[in-house]
Symmetry: C2
Subunit: 430 residues, 2 copies
């Protein structure tokens, strides 16, 4: 699956867009800037070039400066935030001041706000009347979910400012209802972007880049690598006159990459390692169970985050103490005493124990030292044993992630490696 | 516990800082800008004023322009991203070009990189050698987790650029180890900020704000509410000449808030609901086990994310299928057939089953419909049953989170409500 998106015109200047998110809570780090991410994705889908995002607090002089800077450089400035009824909401007022324009109470807006407020509360605050005052020549963006209207306003030639509220649900609704179609109609958009993500495990970003270095030099499609903890992604983006033309450019590059990377490639776009493992199990209608020690539920959570996982994932045991390993997985006390909880023998017994208890086709077991305490000379923090078993055989793996890694990272990498181990076994079996 | 932080000087210009996040993936909306949020919080804790954040793609001319613009306005520019080994990682090179400086291979850096790489892979990519080339006079920020070193470099008077990698874990470690102390030592910070977060569960942000509306009007300390999924936080920040003076301002406000909120308050600062439950269990040296259905491991993961959890959390079962509920929890088939998997009877049997199997003092069980599929008229998506049992008694709770909620949100809220239920039982028992 590829995502289709309209592309940039040849004259970038006529469509270039910037995002300006307004709110002191962003500068204090109180909230993640999910609005910038959301709008970025929407702009990419529309094929509108966008090279800069800015965050400014609720401060008039700084905000005015940022708006005027953008007005010199881009075709459209999209702002979020500062449309509320309180004193620190100053976006509309500041936009107007920046271009020496007057605000006027626009017909029907205050009535609409009063109607909306009366459905929620008995007392209507006069504060909200402020939201009806907008620049005279601005087009109003109706807000289907809240009181604050947005505006689309061109205070000068070839520059339009689109002001949206900061509440994500309201902003999304106003984008879909009004903003996107305005952009499509008023910007000079040509061509189509098609983009595809390929995902890899078991290789570093630089080693993957070495394998495809000639493709990274390509101009259309472009190929760009991104690293995550334990995983790497290649994003391939093509520009064409049509979907078909763009996809035609992508297909041979994807084929080349897959040819060079073999089983290091595990999936595309929305796939996760867990979803791919579930897909492979589905092929033969097989089930899987897990026994987790140091990952303490994270491997199970990875499977069960996927809707419909219950068709193949039947459950598991969090065996966080030796006693639990004995009681629920039937591991002999003697084995635990002889080899210890973090050992290939124990992890195989855990996998076989849960497989037997739940009569699953496959089982994964993980036991290790996630730290920061509990490391020894023989078994330092970061040593993790993994076992995967099916009805015929089993495989084990000892990972040494290193003592410097944090507990969450050791837990996360253990989950990734265990999913990759079973993925490779399922692929081999094909 | 309160965190101590140095405060802003009176001459803001001497400390003003900007954040510049570099990466085309941010402009494409592929990832949330968690680095900007994280650094913002750290700057606020240090009391360093910060009025602007910018995001730029992996594009030399735009990046150079952004760097030079900041150099005119602020004392410190903190960048993240673009320190990797691939062609599109251009931060160090562009910073150097912006100030017409040469890069030179710095002693020992390539050796250190090779050592790190040899632990992970057999083949060492020559690409990584690029990471050893840094501006001559730059101070190196060691990277304890990855290959990319950062730099602290003052290319001109009263302007320092701090370049950090984009990988969050590496950036955090380098901030804590090197960057924060450099900022503390080199910026002209006066006064002390002391900040304390109080955490609440079982009340909405606006209802909590109503309870403390008079305190929200205070100037020193300030009191600000923040909402998270299922939880609310009040951040109290005081400014004083010393830690002691600032803490003296905070103490009576905290007392007032706790007096008005009672058991709705659950903890401070780094506390989580799971850590508080573990602390309460520790008081009587008790153990807990869990049986999870629709949360599929997330409750266990919440406990085991805490180092030392194994003293009280002994394990659990992910009973994702009815068969698992029968096999591992000993729930009679007849009970499951009569009441269904999502019922108070089943969830109590699950809790009692795991408690019996693991001989724990306490047990939590969760069973519900996390969606998006699987809802019925009687049991729509978002209905979740929770049971908490100890050796004497049990409590159950039926949550109706609503069909509009996403699967991850229903799973998360189920975990929060189950932890709050046992927390209240543990408090009552005191």
């Amino acid at each position: 699956m590829t995502s289709k998106l309209k592309s940039t015109s040849l004259s970038a200047e006529s469509t270039e867009t910037e995002i300006l998110c307004i709110g002191t809570e962003l500068l204090l780090g109180n909230i993640l800037n999910s609005n910038a991410k959301w709008i970025s994705e929407e702009l990419a889908l529309l094929g509108i070039p966008h090279y800069k995002q800015t965050v400014i607090g609720d401060n008039e002089s700084r905000l005015k400066k940022a708006i005027l800077e953008s007005a010199l450089k881009c075709r459209v400035l999209i702002t979020t935030g500062g449309l509320g009824p309180t004193q620190d909401d100053i976006t509309i007022q500041t936009i107007a001041k920046a271009f020496n324009a007057e605000l006027e109470e626009r017909d029907g807006v205050w009535l609409d706000i009063k109607n909306k407020l009366s459905k929620k509360a008995n007392i209507i605050s006069q504060r909200n009347r402020k939201q009806a005052f907008l620049p005279r020549s601005a087009e109003i963006i109706p807000n289907p979910l809240g009181t604050a209207p947005g505006i689309i306003w061109s205070p000068k030639n070839n520059f339009t400012i689109i002001a949206l509220p900061g509440v994500p649900s309201e902003m999304h609704a106003m984008w879909k209802q009004t903003t996107a179609s305005w952009l499509r109609k008023n910007l000079d958009l040509h061509g189509i972007f098609v983009s595809k993500n390929l995902k890899f495990v078991g290789i570093s970003e630089s080693n993957l880049a070495d394998k495809v270095s000639d493709l990274i030099e390509l101009k259309n499609p472009t190929v760009a690598p991104y690293a995550n903890l334990g995983e790497v992604k290649l994003r391939i983006t093509a520009k064409g006159k049509s979907d078909k033309e763009a996809e035609k450019l992508i297909t041979p590059v994807v084929a080349k990459i897959r040819d060079r990377t073999g089983k290091l490639f595990y999936g595309s776009n929305q796939d996760s390692l867990a979803s791919i493992v579930l897909d492979l199990l589905k092929e033969n209608n097989e089930t899987i169970a897990v026994a987790e020690s140091c990952t303490g539920g994270q491997l199970s959570a990875e499977f069960t985050s996927i809707s419909g996982a219950s068709n193949n994932f039947i459950g598991g045991v969090i065996a966080y103490s030796n006693k639990t390993k004995e009681d629920l997985l039937g591991i002999p006390k003697t084995l635990l005493e002889k080899y210890g909880a973090v050992s290939p023998q124990t992890v195989v017994a855990m996998a076989q124990g849960i497989q037997k208890a739940l009569k699953s086709n496959w089982a994964i077991a993980i036991s290790g030292v996630a730290g920061p305490e509990g490391g020894t000379k023989d078994k330092p923090v970061g040593s993790v044993h993994i076992a995967v078993t099916n009805l015929q055989s089993h495989k084990t793996s000892l990972e040494n992630f290193g003592e410097h890694l944090s507990r969450p990272n050791i837990q996360r990498l253990s989950v990734i490696r265990s999913l990759d181990l079973i993925r490779l076994m399922l692929l081999e079996r094909r």
